[in-house]
Each structure stands twice: as C-alpha cells, then as structure tokens.
C-alpha cells in the first residue's frame, strides 16, 4: 500500500470503497438452543457513499458494524456466518493477520463513547502515531509525529502539538471523537465505519462531528457506514438508509425516498414517532406500541409482527424477503414486508393506521 501524495490522490480515481455484505448471520449458543442476534443481513455500500444503518437498541446494528471487520471473532461466544466483500476481497475468509491490516487501514472505525475508546494512560499523539506506524507510515518517530500533527489539523483540532502531548482525560468528548477520526484516517481508509459517533456528545458538537465526516467524504472520496438510532443524523448525512429491526434488515432506500415514502410499517412508525415542530400541540406523541423482542423470543416469520398493525396470517410463518418495492420507488428501494405494495400504493389512510394506536 504505497502512500499517495495529495496530488496523486486527487487525480487518481477514487479508491475502491465498495462494501458488500451478504447473508450476515451472527448467533450464539445457549443451553436452550442457538439464538440469532443478526439474521441474514445484506446491503451494499458504493464508493464514496454514506449509508446509514438505522435501528433501535437491540436491532443488531452495532454487531453488524463490528462483524464487517471481523471483530466478532474476539468474542468467543458469538459465531458469524455470511460474506463480506470489500474492494474486491473477501474479508470473511481472510486470516486474522491479513484482516488486521485491513482494520485501521482500508477500513477505519470510530465508536460511540470516544473517551472510553482511547487508552487512558497513553498520550494522544502516541496513539495516533501507533496507527500511523501500523499502516505503512513513515519510519522514524519525528516524521510520524509530524504526520500525527497533520492529521490532527485535518480533523479540525487547533494547537495540535499541545493536544498531541495530552491525555484523553484532559480533553473534551468532542475532541476525543476528532482524535479517533484522526486515528482512523491514519491508514488512509476508503471506508469509515462510524458506530453511533455522536450519541455521547452535545448537540452542537454533534453537528461539528457530522460536518467533519461529511467534509472528509468529499475530500477523500471515502465511503461511510454510519450506524445510528437518530433519524435526524440519517436525514442530514445519508445517501442511503438501511433499517434494521430485531436483527434483520427491513428496508433499504435512498434517503429522500425513505423519508417521503417509507415502505415498511416499522419505518413508517418511526417517521410518525419523530416529534414535529409544526404538529398541533397537546397531542400525544405517536409511538409504536410494544418493545423489541429479545433474541430468545423472536417469533418465526417477520420479526415485526408482534407490533405491526398490518399483520396478516402469513407474517407469522414466513419471513418476508427483501424485495424491490416497485417501479415507482426505483430499483434501490427494497422492503421486507408482505404488504409493502399496499403501503406504497395506499395513501394517508394506511399511514394513519400505523402509529395512531397509542
């Protein structure tokens, strides 16, 4: 992996940041049988695309993110199956040594609690330098230090020499997240996996971090898998939205389509649940009744059936596959619902039926 100069980088075609996840299933064995935490998840990320993986806690989105780079291997109770292709290579069968080179190199990752994701006893500059050294950086401590300072500047940190000498507990959460992004950038990644990067941060800092991610995508042609439960974040950044519920993908759609015409009852329910400034006052917030079932309690068939107002007989026995939603929505709109055609064709009446039960 030669290091491209800045000129070479802008002139050359964008690096292959294309990711394809097919049939990812993560399970664990319990005395009562095998439980699937993530079931048959498939989605693609094109080069330079921002895909938001959306879902609530327990949907399996974090696990999916970690499985892509093989971090699930380090948890002995979990088992992962399926394929993950990245930049033409099959990651799922790569030996650990090779995969380690991809991790932090072509695929960078940042996490939800930035302060906790940094080693508390080592200076920030050294932690960045560690990533630089690991991924083909210059030999020699001084050049690595200079590169680390460069990276800090690229992520918008002022006075980088000072920051590099500091420890994680001496800086704010927002700055920690920037440092983590700098670390992720050290390997010149073509894909960035961001697992709830703003959840632990204040709203104003949130905006800054999201802007930074967006800017980096523009400048570097990097694709991004942004895992979040915040619809606002998805609306702001995503090119495409992948919705997960209880371990399965229920909808895949371009962002505009998703927010205007969601094809799955769950997505529609989520839309309804977002409080709106222009809604009439003194109205109860519509919520989706019920809770996400535990892995052990998932029924056969569609995972959403227990809370779905549009449930049919067939939903209890057959899990709906991800199928194209129809010509009107375009080829990239996929929905896993037996009644999606009705939903999309129907009008407000069908929408109102969903989520109005509260």
């Amino acid at each position: 992996m030669a290091e491209l100069s800045d000129t070479e980088r802008t002139l050359a075609p964008p690096p292959a940041g294309a990711l394809s996840v097919q049939g990812l299933t993560i399970s664990y064995d319990s005395p009562a049988g095998t439980r699937e935490l993530v079931r048959d998840v498939s989605f693609d990320i094109g080069p330079g695309q921002i895909v938001c993986l959306v879902g609530e806690s327990g949907s399996g989105k974090t696990l999916t993110g970690r499985a892509i780079t093989g971090l699930v291997r380090h948890s002995p109770r979990l088992r992962a199956e399926g394929t993950v292709s990245f930049g033409g290579r099959e990651l799922s069968t790569l030996p650990e040594r090779e995969l380690r080179r991809v991790r932090g190199g072509q695929i960078g990752m940042i996490f939800q609690d930035p302060a906790a994701a940094l080693d508390p006893v080592i200076r920030l500059g050294d932690q960045i330098a560690e990533a630089i050294a690991r991924h083909g950086g210059p030999a020699g401590r001084d050049s690595r230090r200079r590169r680390a300072t460069e990276l800090l500047t690229q992520v918008g940190i002022t006075d980088p020499e000072l920051r590099a000498r500091q420890f994680p507990h001496e800086i704010s959460g927002g700055m920690c997240q920037r440092v983590l992004i700098a670390i992720a950038l050290a390997g010149d990644p073509s894909l960035l996996i961001a697992d709830e990067p703003t959840t632990a941060l204040d709203v104003t800092i949130q905006a800054q971090v999201l802007d930074l991610i967006s800017q980096l995508r523009r400048e570097r042609g990097m694709s991004v898998l942004l895992i979040t439960h915040d619809m606002g974040v998805a609306a702001q950044l995503a090119d495409q939205v992948v919705v997960m519920y209880a371990g399965s993908v229920v909808e895949v759609a371009p962002v505009a389509t998703f927010f205007s015409r969601p094809g799955h009852p769950y997505s529609a329910g989520l839309m309804r649940a977002v409080p709106r400034v222009d809604a009439p006052r003194a109205r109860r917030l519509p919520a989706i009744p019920g809770t996400v079932p535990e892995a052990a309690d998932r029924p056969p068939g569609c995972p959403f059936q227990t809370r779905c107002p549009l449930k049919l007989e067939v939903c209890g026995s057959e899990q709906p596959p991800l199928t194209a939603a129809g010509q009107s929505s375009g080829p990239q709109h996929l929905v896993a619902c037996h009644r999606s055609a009705e939903l999309l064709a129907g009008g407000l009446t069908v929408w109102s039926a969903i989520g109005a039960t509260s």
């Binding site: 319990s30 327990g58 088992r79």
Partner: protein
C-alpha cells in the same frame, strides 16, 4: 448500550468466572483464524463451568472439616492424642512417620502428632482471641471515623497511618518487647497489630456506605445518627468485616508461630507450634518431619480460613440491586 455481549442472557454471563474472559489469547496473537467467526464451544464450556462449581463446594467442605478438627484438637486433645505430649521417650527419638507416630518423633522421642494436637489450643486462643479483640476495636474505630467524618476521621486516619507504618510483625514486636511473656500479653500484642488493618478496611466501607443514597434518604427522613449507624451502616459492613476477621485468624496464628519460632513466644506454653518448627530446624536435613509437619498444619489452617472467609463474604453480601 449495544455492545458485543449484549442480549446474551444473564444465566450465561453469570456462570462463567469472569464474563467474556474465557478466551484463548495465544491463538489470537498468532493470528490463526479463518472465517469470520469460530464455532462456539457450548458443551465443553458447560462442563468446565459445572466442574468448577462442584470443586469449590468440595473445597468449602474440606476447609470447614479441617477447622472443626483443629477446634476438636483444642478442646478435647485427649481424644485425638495421648495424654502427655511432653513425655520424653529417648528410645523412639528421631523416628520417621509411622503407624505409631503419624508425624514422627523429635530428638526427645516425643510424638510430633501429639505435640501438634496439644498445641492447637494455644494457637487457636491466640488466633481467635487477638482477632476478636483487635477486630472489634479496629472495626468500631474505622466505622466511626468513616461515617462521622470531620476532625474525628482525620485523627483516626493519622493514627491508623502511624500504626500501619510498622508493618505486621513489627508492631506486635514492640509490645512483646515491653511486656512479660504470657499468652494474654501475646494476644494483646497481636490484637494491637490488627487494629489498623480492620480500621482502614472498615473505614473505607463506612465511607462507601455513607455515600449511598439510602443513607441520605434515612437522614432526610429524620432518623437519628445512631439509628442510621446501627440499622444501616453496620449491617452493610458485616460482610467485609467477617471475611477480614476469618482470614486474620490465620494471619494471627502465623504471627504467633513466628514469634515462638524466634523464641519470643509466651514462656509458659508447651508445646507450641512455632517452637516445634524451631526445634526441628537443626534436623532439617535428615529428620525433616519435625519442622515440616507443624508448618503444614499451620499452612492448612491459613488456607482453610481463607476459603471460609471468601465464602462467608459471598454469603453475607447484601443482594445487589
């Protein structure tokens, strides 16, 4: 938070000794994995878990049985051994372990086994006596300091620091130096050595308890300080205090044996475990049993008390919410 082990049910997590820790690291370091995951090892792991649970219960039973035996030796030595352990019998001198003398004989022909049995009482008297005395005093001081805070706590802390600057044996040694060599004085000396240990641990516990919300709730609801201490603080301190006390009995027995070994033990006590070990020192090359068996008896007592202490603490700990 969505983590790696989230949604793994509680029974799975609780059963393994350290949650998520059952992982072979060396293969990881060597980078020897292929597909995205590895086959889980359900059945094998379950067996290991069950085996260790059985093993620890057996451990407790053995520990308690041993301690009961020692108590038996202390209370009714005549049942376990002959009548006069100090009887000299030159004909049987320096004989190895045998059916007649389980642990062999010393240079005077005395049975080591008999001497050990009769030595149990002074050992336990010192061990239990000094622990009760010092433990009670230290705990009270510690809880008072921890809960009351303020200048009282400061004074207590300074005092504890000073006493702790003389590690273990040394503090007892000063008192041994100053006092006549009797068993009660030895108990007193070792008790003093235990006071700072208990005081520090209990103070820490009391401070922790004081900062818990239910204490605030009790104070706000108008309960008198004394009531709060008795009804809330003390019960929460019982578990660590009990474990510490049980373990400290072992420590005290070792200190007492070491003192006798050094020739600084109570002069009136014969036979004495520490003196036995000291006695056998010169014979260690050929007649090792004279020193080794008493040492083993003491060690087993220490181990049993540790095991018991650990279990007691587990049993006494208030259920965590």
């Amino acid at each position: 938070m969505d983590g790696m082990d989230v949604r793994v049910p509680a029974d799975q997590v609780a059963a393994t000794p350290e949650a998520g820790a059952d992982m072979r690291v060396l293969p990881l370091i060597l980078g020897r994995w292929g597909p995205l995951g590895r086959p889980a090892r359900g059945p094998a792991r379950r067996q290991i878990r069950q085996a260790s649970r059985v093993r620890t219960r057996t451990g407790l039973i053995i520990a308690v049985a041993y301690l009961v035996l020692l108590v038996g030796w202390a209370i009714i030595p005549g049942v376990f051994a002959g009548t006069d352990p100090t009887a000299v019998n030159p004909l049987a001198a320096l004989a190895g372990p045998s059916v007649h003398n389980f642990f062999g004989t010393d240079q005077y022909g005395r049975s080591i086994y008999d001497e050990l049995v009769y030595g149990a009482r002074p050992a336990l008297e010192v061990g239990v006596g000094s622990t009760l005395l010092g433990g009670a005093a230290g705990s009270l001081i510690g809880i008072a300091g921890g809960y009351l805070g303020g200048w009282f706590d400061l004074v207590v802390m300074r005092l504890i620091d000073m006493l702790l600057a003389l590690p273990g044996l040394l503090l007892a040694l000063i008192f041994i130096a100053a006092l006549p060599r009797t068993l009660s004085n030895e108990i007193f000396a070792i008790a003093i050595a235990s006071v700072p240990v208990f005081a520090r641990v209990l103070r820490g516990q009391a401070v922790q308890v004081r900062s818990r919300r239910f204490v605030d709730a009790a104070t706000v609801s108008g309960l008198r300080r004394r009531t709060i201490v008795v009804r809330h603080v003390i019960p929460n301190c019982v578990a660590p205090a009990t474990e510490l006390a049980t373990v400290y009995v072992g420590v005290a027995i070792v200190i007492a044996a070491s003192l006798s070994f050094l020739g600084l033990g109570p002069s009136e006590v014969v036979p004495d475990w520490g003196t036995l070990i000291q006695n056998g020192q010169g014979y260690i090359d050929h007649d090792w049993w004279i020193s080794v068996f008493p040492g083993v008896i003491v060690t087993l007592a220490v181990i049993s008390l540790s095991v018991l202490g650990d279990r007691l603490r587990g049993a006494l700990e208030p259920v965590r919410g």
